[in-house]
Amino acid sequence: MIEYLFDFHGYGPSIFKGAIITIEVGFLSLILALLLGLLGASAKLSNNPVSRGVGTLYTTIIRGVPDLVLMMLIYFGGQVLINNFTDWLFVQFEIDIFINIDQFVAGVIAIGFIFGAYMTETFRGAFLAVDKGQIEAGYAYGMSKWQVFTRVMFPQMMRHALPGLGNNWLVMLKTTALVSVIGLADMVRLATEASKAVHQPFKFFIPVVLVYLALTTVSEWFIKTMERRYSTGVVKG
């Protein structure tokens, strides 16, 4: 019985590899999303109406459209753009190359781009939550703009942003499963293929479910620890 349960018909290691890919996509998109989020938040909070407009457009459109549609647009559309570019290279300079858009890169860009919009909103709210007087006090001490940002603004902003960031990360981790649709061999896609080949869907999807649950549980624990760390000195009511 036990042997039957753990007999993955040779698909075990490949599903493990898929889990690693899921984690890689998750972390790389997180970095991209955080960068875009900081950029977007500063655009939305700036005094320049053009950058404010761009920021608003970005968050409104991205948050109003399904992730899968954006991912397909970036993956299939990106391929067409690259093809047009290589065609142009061939016509102009007779350079004959063919570039295939990589599913991993397309997936990371799409997910990072989508969650950058959610991060923008989180960071924007967090920046606004920092007491204006503290920033003024920082300047009054003669700190430079950068010093105020790293010493006063950022540590306090993080405290307000962390619950939102943690939430975004949990949603994002689950969104990485969508890369299986554009053909990246992540955990979900490998489990689909294996269960089609061996006709035992539960055997391959239940481990996938367990890995996701483990990832979210560990993440939740980590977020709690971080929240506690950034809330030192804050008295909770």
Binding site: I61, R63, G64, V65, P66, D67, L68, V69, L70, M72, L73, F76, G77, Q79, V80, K174, T175, T176, A177, L178, S180, V181, V188, A191, T192, S195, K196, H199, Q200, P201, F202, F205, I206, V208, V209, Y212, L213, T216, T217
Partner: protein, 238 residues
């Protein structure tokens, strides 16, 4: 109508047949999302009451249900139910129902949205002001009476903003139905893309359709909130 004919004949992608296909996708998406939301909401009321009960035999199973369904991607739940039913139910009387991808997808969506909505409602139920419950008890209301007259309506009103997010989330999540052969909006867009090899036209058009539906939902919920929360608004200065 002339301008319409001109537009239709001036490009190779947006022909009448394309719009018919998008329309079919729209009806599928709306049906799927609407049915899952309604059934999921109905399920989540008793589940949320169980989840916020003091009895661990009631609250623990619901906790496990929401933990599993909120901790895993919807696409995995969909695949598990879709492929799982096709391999296990093929010889049973249920097969005619499960043969079409629509019902496995509906089941996955219903369970998923029920899990999220249960947690939203639970959050609102446990924050019901004590005074309201005490007042209801003082009037001699039974458990059932104060639950359906006081606690649930008051909790639902407070849960409305979070629930509107869940509705938008469900609309967007429904796009993955296209991965199990359902011709919803995204499925239609994918077909049009592959027929004309026109990713930008196909996907940007469908993105705008989703955007439009999202905005309408947000508008509707704002309206509903204004109506249901009218008694909470600060009095107008005279």
């Amino acid at each position: 109508m002339e301008w319409l004919e001109q537009i239709l004949s001036s490009n190779s992608v947006f022909k009448l047949s394309t719009f018919v296909e998008y329309w079919g996708g729209l009806t599928q998406t709306v049906q799927l999302v609407f049915l899952s939301l309604v059934i999921g909401l109905l399920l989540s009321f008793p589940l949320a009451l169980m989840r916020s009960s003091d009895n661990p035999y009631l609250s623990r199973p619901v906790w496990l249900f929401t933990y599993v369904f909120r901790g895993t991607p919807l696409i995995v739940q969909l695949y598990l139910i879709y492929y799982g039913s096709s391999f296990t139910l093929q010889d049973t009387f249920l097969w005619p129902v499960f043969k079409e991808a629509f019902y496995p997808a509906l089941i996955a969506f219903v369970l998923n949205t029920a899990a999220y909505t249960t947690e939203i409602l639970r959050g609102a139920i446990v924050t019901t002001p004590r005074g309201e419950i005490e007042a209801a008890k003082a009037y001699g209301m039974s458990w059932w009476k104060r639950t359906h007259r006081i606690i649930v309506p008051s909790a639902f009103r407070r849960a409305l903003p979070a629930y509107s997010n869940e509705v938008i989330f469900m609309l967007h999540a429904s796009a993955i139905a296209s991965t199990v052969t359902i011709l919803d909006l995204t499925g239609a867009a994918y077909n049009i893309y592959s027929r004309y090899y026109a990713p930008f036209e196909a996907f940007i058009f469908v993105a705008f359709v989703y955007l439009l539906i999202s905005f309408s939902i947000i508008y509707l919920f704002k309206h509903l909130e204004n109506k249901m929360m009218a008694h909470m608004k600060p009095a107008e200065a005279k």
